[in-house]
């Protein structure tokens, strides 16, 4: 399939564009923090860039903890179902459910 159509993200330039768009938005949002005088419900919200930092650090912590959980909890796909029973199920899977 050498002549396959080029899709939007087959061109690395387009991925770059999206990422740069994201970086610019992030920078703008931090700047807006100084411009907009927001109502504060809790004193922590007064900390410098509280929401951006919380969001970023929260997600990084989430992913690192999840990676660590994988070490502990990840098993083979057929851990509960021995291979012979999955074989049976595969053969009967597919579009069967759409038939009467």
């Amino acid at each position: 399939m050498k002549t396959e159509k080029q899709y939007l993200f087959d061109n690395p330039k387009n991925i770059k564009r999206v990422l740069h768009g994201l970086y610019i938005c992030c920078a703008l949002l931090v700047v807006l923090d100084f411009v907009i005088n927001r109502k504060v419900y809790h004193s922590w919200e007064n900390l410098w860039a509280f929401y951006p930092i919380y969001g970023f650090v929260g997600c990084v912590v989430l992913v690192f903890v999840a990676r660590w959980m994988r070490v502990l909890l990840m098993r083979d796909e057929d851990y509960y179902d021995p291979p012979e029973s999955t074989e049976v199920s595969e053969s009967s899977e597919g579009d069967k459910h759409v038939r009467d």
């Binding site: 923090d33 989430l62 999840a66």
Partner: protein, 564 residues
């Protein structure tokens, strides 16, 4: 007594009956007519109690219509309509009948004015829904359905036990605020907790839902858990314990969602996460919080339905649902991709999408009531849900590495159902008042001020930045073929294995005993026969004279000792 008012569940049950005996386009038309007629019927029914029946000493109230019930009533009609459109291509009598009965049972439960009627529909929900899992017709789905049913039946039994205790305690079975006092309060609380996916009781959901058919999961995601949320909102508003349970529910599933490979299971985890927000709102119990919880339930049915529909469409056309086997589908399924992204933006609570208003109501309520730590957990969960449901689902299914699959768009009815849901997501997001005037309490809350919008946008964009950063530096956990151990490990592995071990130990003991006895029994018989057989020394009989002689000798010895 019976008036002209029609209970909504009757319409669905009749439609189910008709659907069972018809086929083809006629069945589709009957199924589509049910939610439309039902909604018109509900619109014409005014608030009040109807269909009162006396049973033994109790007054049953099969149709109670109030503001809370009406909102859930409309929601379920809408959800049923969307799900029916989504499943119009099906030619599966069992599945289509079961889905109508299931939607009807959910409506029966929310309009139940007494606990006994609630119990009946509670059990019907369990029995009708399991057929949507079994309709996949695989060995795995059969077993998953059995485990699912087990949890549902336990929930039903606890509810029945609680109702009996409650009737004994209060002499009435009217379904109103119950509260955590006494045995009855706890039994009913746990029964609702199972269907609501409380931590450690949640496994039926993440185990069962991904095993259902592509269309079945859309039905499943709408009804059971939302009936439980409704019941909690009615029976336990302002119960503080719910705040902490809910906060735990928002946080723990997101860790599992990040490492889960089956994308519909990722959505099942994020369903628990969203339920957590509602449970927190019910636990806080103020007008703002309850409104937030109910509104979030409404929105969740639509955006979670949309996400399940988009993943169901992927499963339907590719036959695959694992993140490790998908990718690059945007190339040939652009419409599904865009619809999925709208659902993802809504669940992530982007401003102008439906989740934003309801979620910020619950978060504001948490802050207003000094639940600072809970607020921080909810904030973390909001960032997390964007991470796993907002980005991971569309990214691994439609973008990421190109899997080489060039699947066509799903059938027209699937696209139409998704478009309806996506339109609702955006409409409610832009014009929140459409939904918010229906909420149980009147209130004045403006989510679209600069404070909320800026804070939420910052949180989300920087979560996205974290995803990009982790992905670029290869720190994001890749999608791998795997299962992750969970609470179900207890009853799928630990308990069966322990019982197996005990049985093995018993077998070994019995074998050992028979071996030892086989070796030592002849020796024992020899020994015994040597001394106790008729010719043995101990079996000999001696004469009385000998005995007298021995006694005499002993007495003599005694005399001699005493002399000295």
């Amino acid at each position: 007594m019976f008036g002209t008012e029609m209970a909504p569940f009757v319409i669905f049950f009749v439609a189910a009956l008709l659907a069972a005996v018809t086929h083809g386009w006629l069945r589709g038309a009957i199924m589509l007519a049910a939610p439309i007629l039902g909604a018109i019927n509900l619109w014409m029914t005014s608030e009040g109690s109807y269909w009162g029946v006396s049973l033994l000493d109790f007054e049953l109230n099969i149709l109670r219509v109030d503001r809370l019930a009406i909102l859930f009533g409309y929601l379920f009609h809408l959800a049923a309509f969307i799900a029916i459109v989504y499943s119009l291509h099906l030619r599966d009598r069992m599945q289509q009948t079961a889905s109508m009965l299931y939607a009807g049972s959910a409506l029966g439960a929310v309009f139940a004015g007494d606990l006994l009627t609630l119990f009946v529909f509670w059990e019907l929900l369990a029995i009708t829904s399991v057929f949507l899992i079994w309709a996949r017709r695989t060995t795995q789905s059969y077993h998953a359905g059995m485990r699912y049913l087990l949890f549902q039946v336990i929930s039903g039994l606890l509810l029945l036990g609680g109702i009996i205790a409650y009737a004994h305690f209060s002499g009435s079975i009217v379904f109103d605020e119950i509260g955590l006092s006494g045995l009855h309060g706890w039994l009913i609380f746990i029964a609702l907790g199972i269907k609501c996916g409380f931590p450690f009781l949640h496994n039926w959901l993440t185990d069962g839902y991904p095993e259902a058919t592509p269309t079945g999961t859309v039905f499943l995601s709408a009804f059971t858990t939302k009936v439980a949320i409704y019941a909690l909102a009615r029976g336990y508003p302002g119960t503080e314990l719910l705040v902490y349970i809910g906060a735990a529910m928002t946080c723990f599933p997101i860790f599992f969602a990040v490492i889960e490979n089956d994308l519909r299971r990722v959505l099942a985890y994020s369903l628990i996460n969203q339920l957590g927000f509602m449970v927190v709102g019910i636990g806080i119990g103020t007008a703002l919080a309850i409104n937030g919880a109910v509104a979030h339930a409404f929105n969740d049915v639509i955006f979670k339905g949309l996400l399940f529909m988009s993943m169901g469409a992927v499963l339907h056309v590719t036959g695959k649902i694992n993140g490790s086997e998908l990718g690059g589908l945007y190339k040939t399924m652009p419409k599904t991709t865009i619809l999925c992204i709208i659902g993802a933006a809504s669940i992530s609570a982007f401003p102008l999408f439906s989740g934003f208003v309801s979620k910020s109501m619950i978060m504001s309520a948490a802050l207003n009531n000094d639940h600072t730590w809970v607020w921080l957990m909810l904030l973390f969960a909001s960032a997390g849900v964007f991470h796993h449901a907002g980005i991971k689902i569309p990214y691994f299914a439609f973008f990421a590495h190109d899997s080489g699959i060039r699947a066509k768009e799903p059938p027209l009815n699937m696209l139409l159902a998704m478009t309806i849901a996506a339109t609702l997501c955006i409409t409610i997001g832009i014009f929140p008042d459409l939904l918010y005037q229906l909420l149980p309490y009147d209130m004045d809350y403006n989510p679209y001020d600069a404070t909320h919008v800026l804070a939420q946008t910052q949180l989300l964009f920087f979560s996205a930045l974290a995803f990009v950063w982790l992905n670029l530096y290869k720190m994001y956990p890749p999608e791998l073929k795997s299962v992750n151990l969970e609470v179900d490990w207890l009853y799928r592995r630990l308990i069966p294995r322990t019982l197996q071990r005990l049985a093995d130990v018993k077998d070994v003991c019995v074998q050992q005993m028979s071996r030892v006895s086989a070796r030592h029994l002849p020796q024992l018989t020899n020994y015994l026969s040597k001394y106790y057989a008729p010719q043995g020394i101990l079996a000999k009989t001696s004469s009385t004279g000998t005995a007298v002689m021995w006694i005499m000798l002993m007495l003599l010895a005694y005399l001699l000792i005493s002399l000295y």
